[in-house]
Symmetry: C2
Subunit: 335 residues, 2 copies
């Protein structure tokens, strides 16, 4: 590869007469001017896979243009309260994969799952026993949970973000007139015993938004667009790895065919019934539905060690032992 005296940098390669065979190496060469080694590695893998994809499919101009138009439509469907690209990532299994890579979990801890596109940052912080749902038509549910360390120590003052749909299977942000009135979502803090509890409604299955380009793709693939009944939880506590997860209600339709690949056996919970004793203690009706779960968080330290170990293993499997691992992320060893 000859080098040319290009404007601004004498070391950039000559980019001419690029062919199906040599274009990938040439794009790598021009991108090798990047000062950030991590970005350089990400671009190198991205360009390689993108080009291999085109070569292996013999991608036609019409198909490429359909892809351009599809991605444009996905971008233009995004609003302040709708993230169609996250939805796209969800339905091809990328979101679940990235969560699994970034948040490795030791066997004793609670597994993570997809964030989904409906988390917001405007939920009110509620006191224990409040109701997160203003929907009068939902089936009342008492949620009674705890949060601990992997060694069983209760964790106090954990910030717990919870969100669920209404009884029609819609999140508040899916209503045009929502404005700044958050509903079906709240922030709760665990008490001194690591316990947090709130009133909600029994989750129902719902379709992911199917009126946009992602819905059209799902239909073309012959797939359904439903998610089984679930409630989202996100945990934040200084010194611990953020946990993004959800609980799935046992026996729900679509339990084994979630459109976004989020279900894990360890996160499926059978609903219980509120006993008279619990009813008195928590001021709810006896006989109503009860969701209990003990969440287990992993320390930052343990997460970082796991992330590092798994990155080393992955690079070894790829024959890339020469990569440095910095904060769990492979980076080329540049001198």
């Amino acid at each position: 590869m000859a080098s040319s005296t290009g404007p601004g940098d004498a070391s950039i390669p000559t980019l001419k007469d690029l062919t199906i065979e040599n274009i990938t190496d040439n794009v790598h060469l021009i991108n090798s001017q990047c000062a950030d080694p991590r970005l350089k590695y990400i671009m190198e893998r991205l360009v390689t896979h993108l080009h291999d994809f085109a070569r292996e499919t013999r991608l036609s101009f019409e198909e490429w243009m359909a892809g351009i138009q599809f991605l444009t439509a996905v971008g233009q469907t995004c609003t302040d309260v709708r993230q169609e690209f996250i939805l796209l990532s969800d339905i091809v299994g990328l979101s679940l994969l990235v969560d699994s890579i970034d948040h490795p979990k030791p066997p004793s801890s609670t597994e993570g799952t997809v964030l989904g596109p409906f988390h917001t940052h405007d939920a009110a912080t509620l006191t224990p026993g409040s109701s997160i749902s203003g929907d009068p038509n939902g089936d009342p549910l008492l949620v009674l949970c705890s949060v601990k360390t992997t060694s069983g120590q209760p964790l106090a003052d954990v910030k717990v973000d919870v969100w669920e749909t209404d009884s029609h299977g819609k999140y508040d942000v899916q209503y045009a007139d929502r404005g700044d009135k958050a509903d079906g979502r709240a922030i709760i803090r665990s008490d001194a015993h690591g316990v947090f509890w709130f009133n909600a409604i029994v989750p129902v299955p719902y379709p992911i938004p199917s009126d946009g380009p992602v819905g059209q793709l799902i239909a073309k693939l012959g797939r359904h667009c439903w998610r089984p009944s679930h409630m989202h939880f996100m945990f934040e506590k200084e010194g611990f790895d953020n946990l993004v997860t959800a609980l799935y209600i046992r026996g729900s339709d679509y339990e084994t065919s979630d459109a976004v690949f989020g279900v894990k056996d360890s996160l499926i919970v059978a609903l219980d019934t509120v006993t008279p004793q619990l009813a008195a203690q928590y001021n709810v009706e006896a006989g109503s539905k009860l969701l209990r779960y003990d969440f287990v968080l992993v320390t930052d330290e343990e997460t970082q060690q796991l992330r590092h170990d798994e990155a080393v293993k992955a690079m070894r499997a790829l024959g890339r032992e020469h990569m440095k691992i910095i904060k769990g992320l492979p980076v080329p060893d540049v001198d």
Copy 2:
């Protein structure tokens, strides 16, 4: 892999407990419900490469989110007259690659190159000798070309779409007040001798739009965003493969470092000077600049045969001899 009786289809696989290792095969299984075998193959390769990309980079949640936000911004930068996703495809070499795959050229024909994001469908059809540029500040250029078959027969009545920037390096669509007044672009038809000619201005180097997310990426990669001086040409003629190409002016800055990888030696042309004889014949000033080129189109039949042969070769190299090739495109052999 166990199958479950999912809603609507008894054959969909059980999607539960998906891990870094098994998620790719499971996404393939759920997508195998797709009735269109070509789309199924495209999705299979796309999901494989996307997941491998995430596994090989150990993509972090923050990086994934940066990617989501980047793609969203790219989509939202697109307007009726700006296609930021095509620009993104251009700067990672995908556009050139897809053109090379989809429009294979025998050695005797004119090579193709990137379409770019600035072609429009509203150029006026001009008579021979008209000027395509309304810019009074450009350096006048007589463009005198012909179009033939690979066996040298002149091709009459070919629709030739041409477009170039003004003397400031801007396409008409880059001006907010352009409205429906196309400038720097035209449709010309070749005459009975396969000849077409028009007046234009000498192309100048220009930066690709750098005020959007793609410009930000280019900057992060330490690359410049310039294209060497060139004029775009697109040819359409019944029975012949559409030719999307461009002519590059020899000696232009950035000739060997085009930001979108479009330059090919066979498309670089040294400008000539209009002789007194030509000046009289074409009613332009003697001594002004002259661009001459003989374009050669390939028949649909020959293109289809080449496309088929190269797809067969590519599938053999991949060990995918079992694929069917339909209209040059690999399709799984479904019974």
